[in-house]
């Protein structure tokens, strides 16, 4: 909001000095002096990379049922299984899957669902927000009324509803493939309003500024004004909301798994792993719950902390 439009001034700068300028910018200065943000960023980066490169890192492919040996089930971390003699770094779960590999693959699904859902929400929200703010009139009324309707329903209900309807209309044979896409749709659709509201607010302010008026005068199209002049100005708050929404989306996915509308047990997400793991809380197989839960906590907490820092950093009034 406070930075001048970034695009034009920076694109023309030569590359080395550009990196330097970014490094020395207020933004990075704030980052370099926020140890919490640095640690969080590292954690998020490590986890995302681990998820992306899961097939290379993970010693097993838990999504390939043919490689599983049920007899490996419930092997404690680092100990050899009594029947097969195999050893697993973080132990195995109730199906004999290597917990470490399952977490990596599960995180892949959680992150994929989270990123896609936020992207969807952002796409819908930013587009509708821009349109509503810029065009005004009855278009704005309709969009903001829809947003109100959406707000009436808590996200989790919306998600369950979409899941229920999707289940009703998709043929049985596609149900297990569809679970992930329905999750994305459900979480994404329940989350766009925040984006729309903020973008609309900012747009209302920006569209009356002189440079927009000037652009209008020289005959730029509405579309181009929205895209090239207004959009860059809403990116900061959108980034903040997107970060926090990502953490929320990952948690929402976990919650939906608990309610029985999540990823299938044969291709578990982190949430599904926790749902399965909590069944073994009293029985002493702590590793089935602890490691996925700790991973989820580390991931969501780091993203939240980053978002927190981002909000303060991009809103200098609070510094």
């Amino acid at each position: 909001m406070t930075d001048a439009p970034l695009s034009e001034t920076q694109v023309s700068a030569p590359a080395p000095s550009r990196i330097k300028r970014i490094w020395e910018s207020d933004f990075m200065w704030s980052f370099r002096h926020a140890p919490v943000a640095i640690v969080s960023a590292i954690v998020v980066l490590v986890l995302v990379l681990a998820a992306v490169f899961a097939p290379l890192i993970a010693p097993f492919d838990p999504f390939n049922p043919a490689t599983l040996n049920l007899m490996n089930g419930f092997t404690p971390p680092g100990e050899a299984n009594a029947f097969t003699g195999d050893t697993f770094f973080l132990g195995t779960d109730d199906q004999g899957r290597d917990v470490f590999s399952t977490i990596l693959y599960g995180m892949r699904i959680s992150l994929f669902v989270g990123f896609s859902a936020v992207l969807l929400a952002m796409l819908i929200g930013v587009t509708l927000g821009l349109i509503a703010g810029y065009l005004g009139g009855w278009t704005e009324s309709i969009i903001m009324r829809i947003a109100d309707v959406q707000l009436t329903f808590p996200s989790i209900l919306v998600a369950m509803l979409i899941f229920g309807i999707a289940k009703g209309v998709t043929p049985a044979e596609y149900r297990d493939q569809m679970a992930i896409w329905v999750l994305i749709l459900a979480i994404g659709l329940s989350d766009w309003v925040q984006f729309a509201r903020v973008v609309r607010g900012t747009t209302l302010v920006e569209k009356n500024k002189e440079y927009v008026q000037a652009a209008k005068l020289i005959g730029r199209s509405r579309f181009s004004i929205m895209l090239r002049h207004i959009l860059p100005n809403v990116l900061n708050p959108v980034l903040v909301i997107a970060t926090i929404s990502l953490a929320l989306a990952i948690i929402a996915e976990a919650t939906l798994s608990f309610l029985g509308v999540g990823a299938p047990p044969t291709k578990p997400s982190l949430g599904t792993l926790i749902r399965i793991g909590q069944e073994f809380m009293f029985s002493g197989e702590w590793w089935i719950l602890l490691f996925p839960a700790a991973t989820l906590l580390a991931l969501a907490l780091s993203i939240n902390l980053l978002g927190d820092w981002l909000r303060d950093a991009l809103n200098p009034r609070l510094r």
Binding site: N64, P65, A66, L68, N69, L70, M71, G73, F74, F83, D94, Q95, G96, P171, A172, E173, R175, D176, Q177, G260, P264, P265, T266, Q278, E279, F280, M281, F282, S283, G284, E285
Partner: protein, 525 residues
């Protein structure tokens, strides 16, 4: 409104009385579906009904017959098509009216009526007549030697009470109907309903004028029944001493419960077998990737799939030793069960692959497995394990696990090609299994046969069982039918379930093989 005043009165009463009262706080995963004793043929519903209503004959906790509202019963001399039941005298309903032969006639007719879920157990009965106030004759369409076994969950209702309250028609549960009898009770049983909120809490108190007062233990004077769905919460409630008795201890928590001071786990084999069914009847099936033909129609494929399942591994890991690997879909309690057949399942991945190649599916195929996730012990875990085992022989399985309310309609409506099902046998006779699972799907029989299997010869033999009086010949026929079922690999048996009841030390009971505790037998130390 009335219920609420009773509840308020109870609150006062419990605080006032105390001392000699023994309250049993009982929890299990699910609740009874209705109080109408004929509207559902389902475990938890019957279990609650058994405390309130009574059949002519019950099974005790060892599974043996015990006289309830009938004192004795026998086929009529000279007419093999008639069973004579002598009724207990001096029995009254909770509202004080007398139990008579009229009520038996009325109740059986009601259980045979259109909406009843019990009518499949009574297909052989053509007429029920009251000879005098305490004698009833059941006329069957041919001799039926095992009739008594079909009556152990058939509850007796008061004709006058039911008629006066317009509840003669059985509640049409699927039609979303409510009747007086589905929310009110008037039985002869050892307990009566004090208050009930479905899915929340049901309170029962001892029936002071119960006929068996001096005959049975009857230590329990009050029952507080709370369904607790979430397994961890249910176990926590037992561990923290908030309930005295839970029926479904998750297998992984058995150790924890048994190791906790003051708690005991009691274990017994259950009269229930878990298996997979396959659609072999259709020309082509929807849920696979093979065009134009149905791989499951080939017995070699079905056998190969059975051979791929490692039942011992499932027992050891998924069930934590709480199961008994099965080779046939009859529990050992059942007449017709055969030790050799039940031991016939072998795990042989190489042999299975060879059979698959032989059948022309050397490269395997893919299919969807439909599975409940809240019905049987670790049902989802078993299915998941099966997915891995079938993958070893090239069968790629997509798992569709969902709540039972969504799973069972798939089987009933022929919408699944590969599914899990569990079967309990309340009659303790193979005929019950054949009628539901083997006979061609039709009007009277085969309603749970989702395999599409149809064998007229076998059907004729199954029908003949109902009227065969020569028990030896009947058993021979049963064995014949089982032989075909085994040869055809009609189902893939997995295991017989084992029951685990968790309770505090003060509760004394044996585990009943049908998972239906009858609290009048409970000792409270």
């Amino acid at each position: 409104m009335k219920k609420k005043t009773i509840l308020a009165a109870l609150l006062l009463a419990t605080t006032a009385a105390g001392a000699s009262a023994e309250t049993l706080r009982w929890a299990r995963a699910g609740d009874s579906l209705t109080l109408d004793p004929h509207a559902q043929n389902e475990g938890p519903t019957h279990t609650l009904a058994h405390q309130i209503y009574e059949p002519l004959i019950i099974r005790d906790h060892s599974g043996a017959f015990q006289a309830a509202l009938a004192t004795d019963w026998a086929p009529k001399e000279g007419d093999p098509n008639v069973w004579v039941f002598n009724l207990r005298q001096g029995v009254t309903y909770h509202d004080g009216s007398d139990f008579t032969a009229e009520d038996v006639v009325f109740s059986i007719n009601r259980a045979q009526s259109e909406n009843s879920a019990m009518k499949e157990l009574l297909t052989s009965i053509t007429e029920v007549r009251a000879v005098d106030d305490h004698t009833v004759e059941f006329v069957t369409n041919g001799p039926n030697p095992i009739l008594p076994a079909n009556l152990t969950n058939l509850f007796m209702m008061d004709k006058t009470w039911t008629e006066a309250n317009n509840a003669t028609a059985v509640q049409d549960i699927a039609g979303g109907e409510t009747t007086f009898a589905s929310t009110n009770t008037n039985g002869t049983g050892p307990f009566q309903v004090v208050s009930r909120e479905p899915d929340v809490k049901t309170v029962l108190s001892a029936n002071e004028s119960y006929w068996g007062k001096d005959e049975f233990q009857l230590d329990v004077t009050e029952i507080v029944y709370t369904p607790i769905q979430n397994a961890a919460t249910r176990v926590a409630a037992l561990l923290s001493g908030e309930v005295d008795f839970i029926q479904d201890v998750p297998v992984q928590d058995l150790g924890r419960v048994a190791d906790t001071a003051g708690l005991v786990v009691k274990t017994a084999p259950q009269n229930r077998v878990i298996f997979f069914g396959m659609n072999m009847g259709d020309e082509d099936i929807r849920n696979d990737n093979v065009e134009g033909k149905n791989p499951l129609a080939d017995a070699r494929v079905r056998k190969a799939m059975s051979m791929a399942i490692n039942r011992d591994a499932i027992k050891k890991v998924v069930m934590r030793e709480q199961s008994q690997p099965a080779g046939m879909i009859a529990p050992p309690f059942v007449n017709g069960w055969d030790a050799d057949m039940d031991a016939s399942s072998t795990t042989d991945v190489e042999g299975a692959k060879a059979l698959m190649a032989d059948a022309g599916y050397g490269d395997g195929f893919s299919i969807q497995l439909d599975c409940p996730n809240d019905r049987y012990v670790n049902d989802e875990g078993i299915c998941q394990a099966a997915v891995g085992m079938l993958a070893q022989i090239g069968v790629t399985v997509n798992l569709n696990a969902q709540p039972k309310a969504q799973h069972f309609p798939l089987i009933q409506n022929d919408e699944t090609d590969f599914y899990m099902l569990g079967w309990g046998v309340p009659t303790y006779d193979s005929e019950y299994i054949f009628n539901f699972l083997v006979h061609t799907r039709g009007e009277e029989r085969g309603s749970w046969n989702g395999t599409g299997y149809s064998n007229p010869d076998l059907d004729a033999k199954i029908v003949s069982l109902a009227s065969e009086t020569d028990l030896e010949a009947r058993n021979a026929t049963i064995n014949d039918i089982w032989t075909v079922v085994q040869e055809e690999a009609l189902y893939v048996p997995i295991h017989h379930q084992v029951l685990n009841w968790g309770m505090t030390e003060k509760v004394g009971t044996e585990v009943s093989p049908e998972d239906d505790p009858k609290f009048k037998f409970f000792k409270m130390n």
